[in-house]
């Protein structure tokens, strides 16, 4: 006799086993060679180089749909890649030159920065239609980050040295905060209580209190033997246990390890030239960074805080994402 309980238990166990045996994947967008490198997370072997559209840059994973969204800057669109077949299965029009984008936590909305037009484009993800365009978000908007509750979007403006906070649902600019020079990317920590932003030219991270929009701290980086002007922070990887923020420092070839609670810099890890994008595995054991000027990625052991391997990828690797 068919017993639904037994079936479900069996189903969950097999499902668990299957997902355990499935290896994870690393996806790297190469903006110089117009492709995406797929790497096995366990063996670090390159599985394939797939088409990502022209000048692929930022990427986001929609795990439950097996989709990888890729901003193809020179195609003026986001390409949707099926992570099983590695094929482009669709696209979303984004307006000119999309670089960085984010998806709302409920998956309903996509917000893209259009660097050349000084705009942010807001897209309905289910229909792929542009809902509205917010103009005047500073010169060269770049980093786009949804607040964890999904109500607001923080956009960095490289040319204006500010973070512009918008309500994408109403299409309003809520506030503008002056940060350091050339702000690039943002990340929310402490369940959204703080927003951190990298200042590429200022060589620091500004910490904003999201309750009153005030800059409450500036985290500075100092690396022995490296000039301040060579320290150019760009991207974040936040550990899933919310203990550490890993920040790539561009020209200095290092990654900073910062304690999220105390804002203290704990360590600097040597990576490659123009270390740029970053991502961390779910168990927080492996950090992966792209080295834009070496055409490779570094695999970093977070226990040792040292690179254990480097893998050659395409030209000018930009973003890294991990699917587990």
């Amino acid at each position: 006799m068919f017993n639904i309980k037994t079936f479900l238990i069996f189903f969950y166990i097999t499902n668990f086993l299957i997902s355990e045996t499935l290896a994870g994947y690393i996806f790297i967008s190469n903006e110089g060679s117009d492709n995406i490198t797929v790497i096995n997370l366990e063996t670090y072997e390159i599985i394939s180089n797939i088409d990502g559209g022209k000048r692929p840059r930022d990427m986001k994973v929609i795990a439950d749909k097996n989709q990888l969204l890729v901003a193809a800057s020179e195609d003026d669109r986001i390409n949707i890649i099926d992570t099983k077949s590695y094929k482009i299965v669709g696209h979303i029009e984004t307006g000119d030159d999309p670089e960085i984008f984010d998806i709302s936590p409920d998956g309903k909305m996509i917000v893209v920065s259009n660097e050349d037009d000084n705009e942010a484009t807001i897209i309905d993800s289910s229909t792929g239609k542009i809902i509205r365009v917010i103009e005047d978000v500073g010169i060269e908007p770049e980093g786009v980050t949804f607040s964890p509750d999904g109500t607001l979007v923080y956009i960095t403006s490289e040319g204006t040295n500010t973070v512009i906070i918008i309500d994408p649902w109403k299409g309003e600019i809520i506030n503008e905060i002056l940060v350091g020079n050339r702000p690039r990317r943002g990340a929310f920590v402490k369940s959204g209580k703080e927003y951190w932003v990298t200042n590429e030219l200022g060589g620091s991270v500004s910490v904003i209190d999201t309750s009153n929009y005030e800059v409450i701290d500036e985290i500075k980086f100092f690396i022995r033997g490296i000039r301040d002007s060579e320290i150019t922070p760009v991207d974040f990887a936040i550990s899933h246990n919310q203990e550490f923020a890993y920040i790539t420092l561009g020209r200095s070839k290092h990654v900073a390890v910062v304690d999220i609670n105390t804002h203290e810099v704990k360590d600097y890890i040597l990576a490659g030239a123009r270390v740029w994008g970053a991502a961390i595995t779910k168990d927080d054991k492996i950090l992966i960074v792209t080295n834009g000027n070496n055409d490779n990625i570094s695999i970093i052991d977070t226990k040792k805080n040292a690179a254990i391997k480097s893998i050659a990828v395409g030209r000018t690797p930009h973003t890294v994402r991990i699917i587990e």
Partner: protein, 396 residues
């Protein structure tokens, strides 16, 4: 219902009123000359001098206009409306007085000067008691940075010395150390050659000979106008040519007696900006310029653009501090500015020269960026090029 609308409209008017009151107007004066030989024929290809289709206006006013557009978003946070008021004088007659009058009549708070070095130096001296920054956006002459020391005179265009130091670093790095120098007939050519000779001394290059050239076909002057004679019977790895007019130097690459590279006014040229640069956000800035003006951005455009940008940056960073004034803000050690060409730019406190990277470029490629990696300075590597505080009469 009517009352509500009435009240709302009053409220709206009130908001409008307070808004317009909050915004402070800031007027930037931009002065240049109708008759300026630098934009007349210097550097224009002989074909383009006669061309109806390829003769482009090279005046840096284009860069200033982009600057104004780029700093418009700062209005929201600084509550300041930046506007450009331009005035083109026909000639140099009584120009000092005319500028003073214009400043007073238009409530000018900041000045950009696109003028030849000597005129610029006279005007700056005349305005030295004014508490407004003056930006030199086009005169590269070294004496403005080493001898003329005026508290409110800033330079965003690199000095001749920064440019020749950059080339000397490149030659030294390549170990192409024997250099033949060719000098044109203009006073500017002599100054440029002198600057290069000083640079070679600093970076350990050897000048094997210095020869004068002349743009002519006269067979009696072949020692000076024939490239084979000019570049013959000498040992060199590279030829430096000082030719402000440029018509002669166009023909020098690939024509030297020895297989040597040409640099200076032709071949490898040191520039504040070149359109072909692909890194550090340069394509974004260049794209904005091209879309606005339909031509390529050059060094003086960049210098005008960053001069405008420095105003907004000073206001946004220091505007709320006590006793704020622009001159102190611009020379503050905390003042940095993104030039879209690498490390942050800032003003040298001794002679108010904007430190910046220099692009060493051919006609269509940036071959190298100076300072080169192997040249380091005790404080800021950008100070390995240009007039350091030890060699300038201007002191902090």
């Amino acid at each position: 219902m009517k009352i509500i609308i009435y009240l709302l409209s009053i409220l709206f008017c009130f908001i409008q009123l307070t808004n317009s009151k909050d915004i402070e107007e800031f007027n930037i004066g931009y002065y240049d000359l109708e008759e300026d030989e630098r934009y007349d024929v210097w550097g224009v290809h002989p074909v383009d001098i006669r061309s109806q289709t390829n003769r482009v206006d090279r005046r840096p006013i284009a860069g200033a206009l982009l600057g104004i557009k780029d700093i418009k978003p700062f209005q929201r946070i600084t509550k300041t409306k930046f506007q450009l008021i331009t005035k083109r004088f026909k000639d140099q007659e009584k120009i000092e007085e005319k500028i003073k009058e214009h400043i007073n009549n238009n409530n000018i708070n900041f000045i950009l000067l696109d003028l030849p070095a000597k005129t610029l130096s006279n005007i700056a001296k005349n305005l030295s008691s004014y508490n407004i920054p003056i930006m030199n956006i086009s005169a590269r002459e070294n004496f403005l940075r080493s001898k003329v020391c005026i508290n409110n005179l800033f330079h965003t265009i690199p000095s001749q010395r920064m440019l020749t130091d950059s080339l000397a670093q490149y030659l030294s790095d390549k170990k192409w150390r024997k250099i033949l120098v060719l000098v044109g007939p203009l006073e500017e050519d002599t100054l440029l050659a002198e600057s290069f000779i000083e640079s070679s001394r600093q970076f350990g290059l050897k000048i094997t000979d210095k020869r004068n050239f002349l743009l002519s076909n006269d067979p009696r002057a072949r020692e000076e106008n024939d490239i084979d004679f000019l570049t013959g019977s000498a040992k060199y790895d590279a030829v430096f040519i000082a030719d402000t007019d440029r018509e002669f130097s166009y023909r020098l690459p690939y024509s030297t007696q020895r297989p040597a590279i040409v640099l200076g006014s032709s071949g490898l040229v040191a520039r504040a900006w070149h359109w072909s640069y692909l890194r550090h956000g340069a394509p974004q800035l260049h794209g904005r310029f091209e879309r606005m003006h339909n031509r390529r951005m050059n060094s003086t455009d960049w210098a005008a653009w960053i001069a405008i940008k420095s105003i907004a940056e000073a206001k946004v960073r220091f505007g709320k501090k006590e006793n704020f004034n622009y001159i102190d803000a611009l020379t503050s050690p905390e003042f940095i500015l993104d030039g879209y060409k690498g490390p942050a730019t800032s003003f040298r406190p001794w002679n108010r020269q904007l430190r910046q990277t220099i692009m060493l470029s051919t006609e269509n490629w940036v071959t190298s960026i100076a300072p080169l990696e192997s040249f380091v300075h005790r404080e800021n590597n950008l100070d390995t090029i240009g007039i350091d505080n030890k060699n300038s009469k201007c002191k902090e």
